[in-house]
Structure formats: structure tokens, C-alpha cells
């Protein structure tokens, strides 16, 4: 599904140049669950942003399902993103002004799905995430674990092929964290490809393969399954 080769990303300010990704190369296959680990500042989040088409690389190649997307313009990236990729963030990133239902519904609205179908699909996914009873609550009325389940629900509601998770358990206690990891595992078992950035060895063990990064490069790859 994903093939990256010699991927580069350099952040420049007036005085400093920081190499975030240094000729990074790896592949992710359909249906895989990959964990990316490494110390702060090693380039994990940059990688995830490029994989999620939120940012563009400064060099190298990025094939998504066989299409070179490294130099897509913003409109094309947005279009590809909304049809194929779901995001889960450490800080949940729910919109405070919208209810649980409305947050989950939003990607479908942007996809142009009709109202009745939207309702059906949102309810189905809320049910699956066991958060249906909170559908009319606002994010700040929920616990961290509940918020992350809503975020996962939003990430999967349009049936993306790929889910990118950026430290999805970072703000959760261990039991809530386990629940979220369980959810991700189930999604993966149903065929969704997952790439997860994490600091937690415990969470990384849910994956099939761990890519360890340092200074913008992969250092090792551990295959777990």
C-alpha cells in the first residue's frame, strides 16, 4: 500500500536547518499493523504527517497504492485523504462545539454522503465503539477514553484503507489505553492498514512490525508476527 524511498524533510528557520527525515525508505503492505518508535524529535510525527498527506516531503518518492503522491497539490491531497485515510491523535482533536454524533458525522459530510445514510453509518460505528449512549454529549463532557473512542469512530466512519494513529494512548490511563489498542487491533483484523506512532513498548506489541527511528532514519525493524 505504501512505498517510500529516500524520503526527505528539512525544516528551515532563518538561522537553523533541521533534518527531520533523512532519506527514509520503507514499505507498508495492505492489512499490516506497523508501529513506529523512537525518541522525541526523531521524525516520527513528521513521517506520519507526510504519510497522511498533511505535509509534503522535500525529496524522495511516496507511492500510495501505486500512485506517486509526493508532489500532489493541496486539493488533490485533501481529496485522496478524505477517501482513504483516517487519523487518530494523542490529544483526540475533537471539535468542542460539536456533539459526539456531529464529530463522527463530519467526514461523511465532507464526502457528500446523504443525510439518511450518514445517520445510519454514524450510528453503526458509534454502536461498534460502544459510545452510542453518549451521542448527544459534547467532547468536554466525556472521559479521555471515551473521547479517544469517538476519535477512532470518526477515523473509521468512512471506511478508510489506512488509519494513522499518533500516540493514541498517550493521554489515557492504562485500562482506557488497552481498550483503544483493542479497538485498533479489531479494525486491523477487519482489514484496515494501521500505522501507529508510539512511545509505549506495550502498545507497540499489538502491531505486526516495529520500525525504530533515530535522527530521521530507520535504525531497526522488528517483525513481531
Amino acid at each position: 500500500m505504501i512505498k517510500i524511498k529516500d524520503l526527505e524533510k528539512i525544516y528551515r528557520t532563518e538561522e537553523v536547518e533541521t533534518v527531520a527525515l533523512n532519506k527514509l525508505t520503507f514499505n507498508v503492505n495492505d492489512g499490516e499493523f506497523v508501529a513506529v518508535m523512537g525518541p522525541s524529535g526523531c521524525g516520527k510525527s513528521t513521517l506520519l504527517n507526510i504519510l497522511g498527506l498533511l505535509d509534503d516531503p522535500d525529496g524522495g518518492s511516496f507511492l500510495f497504492n501505486g500512485i506517486e503522491v509526493a508532489h500532489f497539490n493541496e486539493r488533490k491531497r485533501a481529496d485522496l485523504r478524505k477517501r482513504n485515510i483516517g487519523f487518530v491523535f494523542q490529544s483526540f482533536n475533537l471539535i468542542d462545539e460539536l456533539t459526539v454524533f456531529e464529530n463522527v458525522e463530519l467526514p461523511l459530510i465532507y464526502l457528500g454522503v446523504k443525510g439518511t445514510e450518514r445517520k445510519e453509518r454514524v450510528e453503526k460505528v458509534l454502536d461498534k465503539m460502544q459510545i452510542m449512549h453518549r451521542r448527544n454529549h459534547y467532547p468536554q463532557q466525556l472521559s479521555g477514553g471515551q473521547q479517544q473512542r469517538v476519535a477512532v469512530a470518526r477515523a473509521v466512519v468512512n471506511n478508510p484503507k489506512l488509519i494513522l494513529a499518533d500516540e493514541p494512548t498517550g493521554n489515557l490511563d492504562s485500562s482506557n489505553g488497552n481498550e483503544v489498542m483493542q479497538l485498533l487491533t479489531e479494525l486491523n483484523e477487519q482489514g484496515t492498514t494501521i500505522i501507529m506512532v508510539t512511545h509505549s513498548e506495550h502498545d507497540a506489541r499489538y502491531s505486526h512490525r516495529i520500525i525504530r527511528m533515530l535522527d530521521g532514519q530507520t535504525v531497526t525493524e522488528n517483525i513481531l508476527v
Binding site: 510525527s45 497522511g52 482533536n93
Partner: protein, 800 residues
């Protein structure tokens, strides 16, 4: 999608109450001002439009032309001849109608009332579209003893609108003559330059109509209706051609009598479209026509409304962008889950539209509430029913769209451009140095400061106008008007009044203002204001003489041979020794010698220059009013004494009185209104600017919470934190003052030039306006700054 936008827009409004209130309050006030001004301007431009053939109605106007062909002052007035002669000789003129103002004593029950009226030709209702409730518009003014009255007048006189055939007694010379009501007219529209309650047929003797010297009398308004196909300039040149031929004999006759000066009395005739009359500054609707207006009022009002609306829009832009830090996360999320830039722009525009809709509805409520106040201020009778006019509704919708776009578009463009990678990872620092925000704040406060300085100036000038020494004493003087048949009749009244020990003196004078011209010994002609008084006039008003003597009963020939002049007259005549000089009055070719010089006094309001004045006691000149000086604090008893004396002596004349100082104050009613309008405008602009500044200071303080925490941990005092937070804003306000002061200086200097007597521009006026603006701004921001400075730093640092 739309529902989703509106939902989130609504929730954002509800959640951020301060910003919503600031934005809605500002925008609704701004919109309400703009709506009121649109109403005002619409009314101004609608004047006289209701006449069905208004596009073919013109007023005959003239411009003075001297013997060298140099054009002089424009004059909207004409006389007996222009209407009928031009109409008879120029085929493109279909109708003419002369409109002359006048007043008449009318019997109403046992009382006699003084009524204003118009003398008009019988074509009046064919030229103008004033609907009649009853009566025949074509014939109602044919009979000299007919009268047309308004429905209001009919109700006053007869208690019913059904008045055709009834009799009204109107005084003609000294007897009451019955007039038959031949028609009752509907109340004149409020946007009409011609307003009447009583119309009488135009009075003209055969001699008047045939005397060619009447080409040189200008005392009424003549309107003509042209053929729709007529070429205006062709008609004008035919008018001048005819006039030049027809007036030749008269000029010869007059020249024989008065010399070559008569050649300076020529005119060039023009046609003024009726539609341009209401707001004309050089050819105003005067002499019996009403509501003459100056377009500058429309410009100033529109300017103020635009200022206020612009300032409110700036608040919206500034606050939305300042708040964007908080919304950056939402924008990032929307982009991550598939929202495109267009959709985000649509969303933010939707929010500004929703806000504008709320502000718009509120503005309509404000307009409803403040219309009466505005009407008083602007001297209008505007009604909200105007709002149902299609063009006006269109204008308001346009205003709404422009406001929503103006306020919403820029923030929408900025906000939708945020990169999700930055907003979602707290790497987001919007705005950089915020030059735009700063410039907008500077712009706002420059506008507000400009208006405040202007308001200060208007106040100062008004105080000057109302408190400046007039050169005479107008206190404790009661003014009673009456057209005395002779000087003896006036003196009879005077002597009766003087029997009361509380009445100090009584001085008769001519009614209204007179002017004429006379030839000096060196053959130059001078125009002047012409006062008919007696020897008690100057002492009663405490007007000093600078040379010579006053009129005196010891010199019985004074009334026949002597005149007084004022200092301006002497100055213009260029005399070193005025006493004994002679004036040769052009209208009777008789010489009068000057016996005294009166110190200049403001016989007209201070917005007019003191002109040359000549005082006479000539027996043929009638007195029209008396000035009665009473002892202080004796008004109540004196007023009834004066009234009783008047009624006893003149039972058939209407009685009314006014205190002279009250009447003088009335001269400045326009200035008083402008004073209030400017005050309102200034208060609103500074208020809206300040709520915007308040919002910005709240946001800026929030943004700097961490910085304040660190400063306090490092030992900063409350005072130094407050200074840090306030100084940036105060700096901006000071820059705005630097911009506003020169602009205001230019504007107010220009405005003051309208007044021959005016205040001098003072630095302290600008200083005090500037200090006021800075103080207001400081009070606005300091509240937030203190709140932030006294907060516990541990909290602010932890929350980071």
C-alpha cells in the same frame, strides 16, 4: 452541510459571549446608523418627486449682470413679469405659476390669528400635483375672493374637512373680507418644497402687469412647465433674448432717473429643474418655499454612519483573527478529516453572515426605537413605513451583503489558509507582528479622534455663537409684532405701555428686514440694510453711538432729513468725517444727511457678516414691531399688561410676543442640532472602537498568560505587568492621534470658514481631545491588564 455550518456558527456565538456581544452590538449600531442615514438621504432626494410632471417643471432664476457683463450673485426670485411674459412669448413654456409668500389676519371664532399663506396663480393645481379632497383644481383659484385651504386648516376652522362653500374672513387692509372656500387640499407631503395651509389667488393690478420697470422687482418664485421635448438651453436663450428686448424701455426710463447705475441691475435668466431645488446651495428653496437643505448635511451624516459601520466591521475582522488561535485546532481537524479550503471559507463566511443577520434584525429594532430622536435631530418626519419602499429594501439588503462580506471575507481567507500540521501540533503562532490588526486599530481610533476633535470644535463654536457679545443688550426685551398703520399708532401703543412703571422703555422698528440702495456724494451707489426706528431704539437696546447724535424730538426735521449709519457703512463709504455727508435714496431721489454713527452691532445672526446699515425715522416707512424693555424679574405681570394694552388698542389684530434672547437663540438651532448629531456620532464611534479594543486586550492578555506568569515568577510587580500589557495599545492610540489631528485641523478650519465670526483654533482643543481619547483607551485596556497582573502565576504556567 449548511446546517452544520449554521449549527457550529450558532454554538460559537453562544460560547464566546464577549465577542458575540461586541460584534453584534457594534455591527447593529453601525447598521442602524447606516439605515437611518439611508432613510435620511432617500428623503432628501425624494423631495418634490411626487409631482406627476416634475421632470418638466423648472423655476425661473436669475443671475445679476453688471454693465461690464460681469456676472454677480444668483437669485432664485423673480417678479410680476417673468412668468406671464416668457410664457406668452416662448411656445415651449406650457404653463407658469407664481408663488408668493405672505401672511394674513384671519378670524377664527372670536379670535384673530396671523396665518402664513401663499398667493398663487390659478394654474397652481395644473402645474403641481397636490391632490384635492374636494373642489375643482382647474377653477378653484379663478375668483379673487376664493380661498383654498388644507384639510388641517379646514378642521381647525370648521371642525370638518367638508368645507367647500364655507366662508372665511380674511383681513384686507383694515377690514375683514369674506372669502369662499372653493377647494380643500390634502395635507402636503412632508417631502414637498411647497407647503401650504391657505392658498389665495395671486394679486396683481393692471398697472403691475403692464409696468415694465417691474422687470427689476424680485420677490416671488415663478415656476414653469415646459414641453417634454423642449431644449432647455434653447428656452433659456429665448428667455434672455426676450428679456433684453422687452426691458430696454424700462432701463432707459430708470437710467434717466438714477443714472448709469441702472445698467448694473441687469439679469441673465436660467431654468432650475424643480428636482434640484431642495438641495441647492446657490439657488435655495426660499421665500415661501420650505425645507431648503444643504447637501453637506447628507455628506456629513453619511460620513459619520460610514465611519461607525467601518469601525464595527474592523472590530469583527480584528476579533475574528485574534480569536483564530483558539479556532486553529478546529480548522486543522476539519482539514485532516477532509474539509477543503472552499468549504472552510464557506463556513466562516456563514458565521459572519449569521452574525450580520442577528445584527441586522437588531438594527431594524434600533431604527424603530431611535427614529423619533433622529427625526428631532435631523429636523425630519421620517417614518418606518419608508422601509417598505422597494429601492430602500434593496439598499438595505445591499448594505447587509456588503457588511457581511467586508467583515467576513478577510478572516475567512486567513483562517482557511492555516496548515493543519501546524495547528494540530501547537506549532501555531498566527499573525507575526500583526501589522494589519495594528493598522486597523490605528485607523479606528484615528476616525474616532477625528470625530471627537470635530465635536469639540462644534461645541466651542456654538458656545461662541450663543455667548458672544452682540453689541447690544437682548435681555428683558419683549418683542411684539404688529403692522402699525402709522407712526402715531405705534407711539400711542408705546405711550400706553410706558404708563406701567415696570416698563423701562419702548422702541418701534420696521418689521422684517429691509434693504435698499442710495447714492453717495461721489456718485457711487451703496446697498445697505435699512432700519426704520425712533429715538428710543438705540437706548432701549443699549447700542452706543460713536459719533454725532441720536434722533431727537428736539429736532423735528429728523424724520424728514436725517439718517444714522453704522460703522461698517462709514468704512465701506471710505469716509473720514461722516457727519454731514448725504445719501441720495434711489427710490425717491431725495437727499438725507448723516447726523450720527452707530457702533456696529450684530443685527443678524453671527453666521452673517455685519453689513452697512442706515437708520431712518421716515414717516412713510411703517413700523412692524416694538421692543419693550422691562425691569428684570417682572415678566409675568408685564406680559399680561402688554397683552391687555394691545387687545384694548387693537382688538382686530392678532397678538403674539417673544423674548428677544429666545429669538436670538433660535438663530442657532441648526448649529444646536449639529452639535447633538456630532456628539452622538463621536460617542458611538469611540464606544464601538473601545469595545473592539477591549476584545483585543482580552485576547492579547489570554495569549500572553504564560509570559505574564514567567514575568511574575521572575519578580515583576503588578504595576510593571499592567504597563507591559497596556503600553502597546496606548502606543497605537497615540499614533492614531498623530494621524487624526492634522486631518481634523484641516476639516474644522474649513468648516469654521463658513462663519465670519468664529473661534480661533487652539492647541489646547486638540490636546484635550487627544487626552480624552487616550484616557478612554487606557481605561478600556487597563481593566484586563490588572486582572491578568494580579492572577496567580502558578495557575497560568500550569495551564500551559
Amino acid at each position: 452541510m449548511l446546517r452544520n455550518y449554521m449549527k457550529i456558527a450558532y454554538r460559537n456565538l453562544a460560547r464566546n459571549k464577549i465577542y458575540s456581544v461586541i460584534n453584534i452590538a457594534g455591527l447593529s449600531i453601525g447598521l442602524a446608523c447606516a439605515m437611518l442615514i439611508i432613510l435620511y438621504v432617500k428623503d432628501e432626494v425624494s423631495y418634490d418627486r411626487f409631482h406627476s410632471n416634475v421632470h418638466n417643471i423648472y423655476r425661473i432664476t436669475r443671475q445679476e449682470l453688471d454693465k461690464n457683463g460681469v456676472k454677480g450673485t444668483k437669485d432664485p426670485n423673480t417678479g410680476f413679469l417673468q412668468g406671464p411674459r416668457f410664457a406668452q412669448n416662448i411656445t415651449d413654456i406650457k404653463y407658469y405659476v407664481r408663488v408668493q409668500s405672505g401672511n394674513v389676519n384671519m378670524k377664527q371664532g372670536a379670535e384673530v390669528k396671523d396665518k402664513d399663506l401663499l398667493y398663487v396663480d390659478s394654474t397652481f393645481f395644473e402645474v403641481f400635483s397636490f391632490p384635492l379632497l374636494s373642489g375643482n383644481p382647474v377653477t378653484c383659484l379663478n375668483n379673487p375672493s376664493s380661498v383654498v385651504i388644507s384639510e388641517d386648516e379646514a378642521k381647525k376652522q370648521f371642525g370638518t374637512k367638508d368645507a367647500v362653500g364655507k366662508i372665511i374672513q380674511l383681513k384686507d387692509d383694515s377690514v375683514f373680507v369674506p372669502h369662499v372656500v372653493t377647494a380643500v387640499a390634502k395635507k402636503c407631503p412632508q417631502n414637498s418644497s411647497i407647503k401650504f395651509d391657505i392658498l389665495l389667488p395671486f394679486k396683481e393690478s393692471k398697472e403691475d402687469a403692464s409696468d415694465n420697470t417691474n422687470w427689476f422687482n424680485f420677490f416671488l418664485n415663478t415656476f414653469v412647465v415646459l414641453n417634454p421635448q423642449a431644449n432647455i438651453s434653447a428656452v433659456e436663450s429665448k428667455m434672455n433674448q426676450f428679456y433684453n428686448g422687452d426691458s430696454k424701455d424700462a432701463i432707459a426710463t430708470l437710467s434717466a432717473q438714477f443714472g448709469d447705475d441702472v445698467l448694473n441691475w441687469n439679469s441673465i435668466y436660467s431654468l432650475q429643474p424643480m428636482l434640484s431645488m431642495h438641495m441647492s446651495t446657490d439657488l435655495p428653496a426660499n421665500n415661501g418655499l420650505s425645507d431648503a437643505s444643504n447637501p453637506i448635511y447628507s455628506y456629513i451624516l453619511s460620513g459619520i454612519a460610514l465611519f461607525i459601520l467601518l469601525i464595527a466591521c474592523i472590530n469583527f475582522i480584528n476579533l475574528t483573527i485574534a480569536r483564530s488561535v483558539k479556532r486553529a485546532k478546529e480548522i486543522g481537524i476539519r482539514k485532516v478529516i477532509g474539509g477543503g479550503r472552499k468549504q472552510l471559507i464557506a463556513q466562516f463566511m456563514g458565521e459572519s453572515f449569521l452574525l450580520c443577520v442577528i445584527a441586522f434584525v437588531l438594527a431594524i429594532v434600533f431604527v424603530q426605537l431611535f427614529l423619533p430622536v433622529f427625526n428631532t435631530l435631523a429636523n425630519k418626519t421620517l417614518a418606518l413605513s419608508y422601509l417598505f419602499d422597494v429601492k430602500l429594501v434593496g439598499g438595505y439588503i445591499l448594505l447587509f451583503l456588503i457588511t457581511a462580506l467586508l467583515a467576513g471575507f478577510y478572516p475567512a481567507m486567513v483562517l482557511s489558509g492555516y496548515k493543519p500540521v501546524q495547528t494540530l501540533y501547537n506549532r501555531f503562532h498566527p499573525g507575526g507582528k500583526n501589522y494589519l490588526q495594528k493598522s486597523l486599530v490605528v485607523f479606528q481610533f484615528a476616525l474616532a479622534s477625528f470625530l471627537i476633535i470635530a465635536t469639540f470644535t462644534v461645541f466651542q463654536q456654538f458656545n461662541f455663537l450663543t455667548n458672544e457679545k452682540l453689541g447690544y443688550d437682548d435681555t428683558d426685551i419683549v418683542l411684539v409684532r404688529k403692522d402699525f398703520k402709522s407712526h402715531d399708532e405705534a407711539w400711542l401703543f408705546k405711550n400706553e405701555l410706558l404708563k406701567n412703571p415696570n416698563i423701562i422703555s419702548v422702541a418701534p422698528r420696521n418689521g422684517g428686514s429691509w434693504g435698499t440702495a442710495a447714492k453717495l456724494a461721489n456718485d457711487t451707489t451703496m446697498q445697505f440694510d435699512y432700519e426704520t426706528i425712533d429715538e428710543s431704539f438705540l437706548p432701549t437696546l443699549k447700542i452706543p453711538l460713536v459719533k454725532g447724535r441720536n434722533f431727537s424730538p428736539d429736532f423735528p426735521s429728523d424724520s424728514a432729513n436725517s439718517v444714522l449709519v453704522n460703522e461698517s457703512f462709514v468704512k465701506q463709504a471710505g469716509w473720514k468725517d461722516p457727519i454731514g455727508q448725504t445719501l441720495n435714496f434711489w427710490y425717491n431721489n431725495k437727499k438725507y444727511s448723516i447726523i450720527g454713527v452707530v457702533k456696529d452691532y450684530h443685527f443678524e445672526p453671527l453666521n452673517k457678516m455685519i453689513r452697512p446699515q442706515v437708520f431712518t425715522m421716515k414717516k412713510n416707512n411703517p413700523y412692524g414691531q416694538v421692543f419693550i424693555k422691562i425691569k428684570p424679574n417682572t415678566a409675568a405681570s408685564n406680559l399680561s399688561y402688554i397683552q391687555n394694552t394691545f387687545k384694548q388698542l387693537f382688538p382686530l389684530s392678532p397678538y403674539s410676543y417673544v423674548f428677544m434672547n429666545d429669538q436670538n437663540l433660535k438663530n442657532y438651532e441648526a448649529e444646536a442640532k449639529w452639535k447633538q448629531i456630532m456628539l452622538f456620532g463621536a460617542i458611538l464611534t469611540i464606544f464601538i472602537s473601545c469595545i473592539g479594543l477591549f476584545g483585543l486586550s482580552v485576547l492579547s492578555t489570554e495569549k500572553r498568560t504564560k509570559e505574564i506568569g514567567i514575568r511574575k515568577v521572575l519578580g515583576a510587580s503588578v504595576q510593571s505587568v499592567v504597563t507591559t500589557l497596556s503600553k502597546d495599545f496606548v502606543k497605537l492610540v497615540m499614533i492614531s492621534l498623530i494621524l487624526a489631528i492634522p486631518a481634523a485641523w484641516i476639516a474644522v478650519t474649513k468648516w469654521l470658514q463658513n462663519y465670519p465670526y468664529r473661534i480661533s483654533m487652539n492647541w489646547w482643543l486638540f490636546m484635550s481631545a487627544g487626552t480624552l481619547v487616550i484616557l478612554i483607551a487606557l481605561v478600556t485596556v487597563i481593566f484586563q491588564a490588572i486582572k491578568a497582573a494580579v492572577a496567580n502565576p502558578v495557575k497560568s504556567l500550569r495551564s500551559e
